[in-house]
Subunit: 386 residues, 2 copies
């Protein structure tokens, strides 16, 4: 097992004992690994206030663990708010990070006690002022970074710094607290330098607002974007943290603002192993060289991030013979349900129907993203290893 | 209301009365339209035995209606089998159309009484012979057609006619009944001529098996692929039916085999209207010309077929002023949750937050494909108009 840094031989043993008798497909989440990831982030970014991005993995056990570890929570909807509050998270530990919010939902969150909201548009800001008076707002900046993130995030969200400047002024006029700025460099961002540009933009905005308008922003929300271990190599978290810290010091020196960070993928992904079974192996013509391997998990049953073959999970099988190229597809009648066709995984030649394929780093954006009954198949379920 | 052929003024009135007070987002399925679509298909393809593709819309009321109308059912999984049988459909009306099947699932279907299975590979055929002895099998041919289908289906499924030839012989040796062939030209196939090629392939296979091996196939399953009304114009069903009938007569003359047809989209899509609300309208820069309109339904909340902007639904709003281009996105924090960005819909300039956007032709591949809790948002629900 040199596949994967967090899966120690002991953890693998424990996982195997737990999972061998269960019927596939399913996800196993090892809470030990989430503990380790949380500790790692605390160690390398000690000044950062962690807001776990609930959407990455909203399993109650994951939320409960992070609640006990002292994490705060970044929510994308009032449904996630209900979920974390039902688990005893107090509203002062919640940030409503979605810039797209219905009036009724802002009001609901406010009534529940939430006082911290993301925004990136005039209409949303007015909405917050009306429904959540006096709250803190942070303004999401658009940043470049799509090209180097496996799952880009920058197009849909964020605004230009000039607009952010206007929004901060308007927030104050509307009786809100212009609290800070946020950006999100893209999920699974592999280019550390992207943070440099984003932090510089924030610095510019801090200075301009202070100098021109006397508005003192207090916080930078670095968003998510720290990578997890898929098949492409990435730097360790320590490396990211050191660089980000250097950028912050260069730009802010002694006037360091509060730093929030919203890990989702980097907290949960590596804690998950998805276990699937080979349902069918076929060749499309009698002399085809590439095998089609159909597994009982598919793109719409938990692997939606294989869209455009964006995220490439490390795969493991227990067969050890000579390998050859395969196309990997799911069990449904939908032709879009092909995980990897352009990119060819090499799997053992002697893998056969009924054998298991283990998908590592599947703890984030899998279960909650699976379809409710695509072709009748039930959504992916998760088991917890405590 | 000249938008849409099946939505008569009466049906629109009824729909509005029913839906105006409901909280968005939701889908309304008008069973009257499914009745009309079923009757239309019976009329224009009277010799076709209809196997409704349950995956398109597995709502119990839809299944129950089609059960009462006399339809058979094409299932993609044992879960769909359970669903139709729970509604009183007998197993002789069921075809197990998925060529990717676990042993246990073939056995389960066989024990429930299913005797008709699709196949396209040696391994699956052996599986059927072992778990469902004596059953009828039909062999799925791969056909060309991806280029002209909005939602292509041909890559993942089907085999070359040479392999189909071998499979038919093998089926007989294994004690199965080589019953026929099937193909699927791709969902929402707009090029009628594609059926010509596919039927010619079937003809070749019928002749070769009869001539060389004395095997008499009895059935051609034309699959799905009949289009529904999205924004691109298509021929009416009557036109497709006439052409398909002509191809069949040309190729088979007096020796016409049994004809099965598996409408899914063409049966259910036009019966659905998805009702959403504008959550936010924003511009990314102060002088942007294109508005971003965020609705409370998104790609992962029912509109998965907007992937790659494949399916373009007709949209309707009640505002009637001057129109302008928009980017349409969903309510979640995921940047992939953008429905239309390259293709620009024109929506009224005076549309505002809280206004409704009606998505027509959304009765197929919406509710069942939505995510279980993407960003916490609940799956799309459906209401039935009887």
């Amino acid at each position: 097992m040199d596949l994967y840094q967090y899966i120690t031989p002991e953890r693998w043993e424990r996982f195997k004992r737990f999972s061998d008798k269960l019927e596939t497909p399913f996800l196993v989440i090892d809470l030990d690994i989430i503990r380790a990831k949380y500790a790692e982030l605390r160690k390398y970014l000690p000044y950062g206030q962690i807001y776990y991005a609930v959407k990455a993995n909203p399993h109650p056990e994951v939320i409960a663990l992070l609640r006990d570890l002292g994490s705060n929570f970044d929510i994308a909807s009032v449904y996630e708010l209900d979920k974390v509050m039902a688990l005893g998270v107090t509203p002062d530990r919640v940030s409503y990070g979605n810039t797209i919010k219905k009036e009724a939902h802002v009001r609901y969150a406010y009534e529940k006690g939430v006082r911290l909201f993301a925004t990136d548009s005039h209409a949303d800001l007015i909405n917050i002022a009306n429904q959540a008076p006096g709250s803190k707002v942070f303004i999401r900046l658009s940043v470049e970074g799509s090209q180097s993130a496996d799952w880009p995030l920058s197009r849909k969200f964020g605004c230009h710094p000039d607009m952010a400047f206007d929004l901060a002024i308007k927030a104050q006029k509307l009786g809100l607290v212009p609290f800070g700025v946020s950006f999100h460099v893209g999920s699974q961002q592999r280019d550390i330098g992207i943070w440099d540009d984003a932090i510089a933009k924030a610095r510019y905005l801090f200075s301009a607002l202070k100098h021109d308008k006397g508005i003192a922003l207090q916080m930078i929300n670095l968003g998510g974007g720290l990578p997890a271990s898929y098949i492409q190599p990435t730097q360790p978290v320590a490396e990211y943290a050191a660089e980000i810290t250097r950028y912050l010091k260069e730009d802010f020196g002694e006037e360091m603002p509060q730093i929030f960070i919203e890990p989702g993928r980097s907290m949960a992904a590596e804690a998950g192993i998805l276990v699937s079974e080979v349902v069918l192996i076929s060749k499309k013509t009698t002399n085809a060289t590439v095998r089609w391997i159909y597994t009982d998990v598919g793109k719409f049953g938990g692997l939606i991030e294989t869209l455009d073959e964006s995220i490439k999970y490390p795969l493991y099988t227990e067969q050890t013979g000579k390998v050859g190229p395969v196309i990997l597809a799911g069990p449904t009648c939908d032709s879009m349900d092909i995980m990897y066709e352009d990119f060819k995984y090499d799997l053992p030649q002697d893998i056969t129907i009924g054998d298991r394929i283990y998908w590592f780093t599947t703890g984030a954006y899998t279960t909650s993203y699976s379809s409710i009954e695509f072709n009748g198949f039930p959504p992916l379920t998760a088991h917890i290893l405590k």
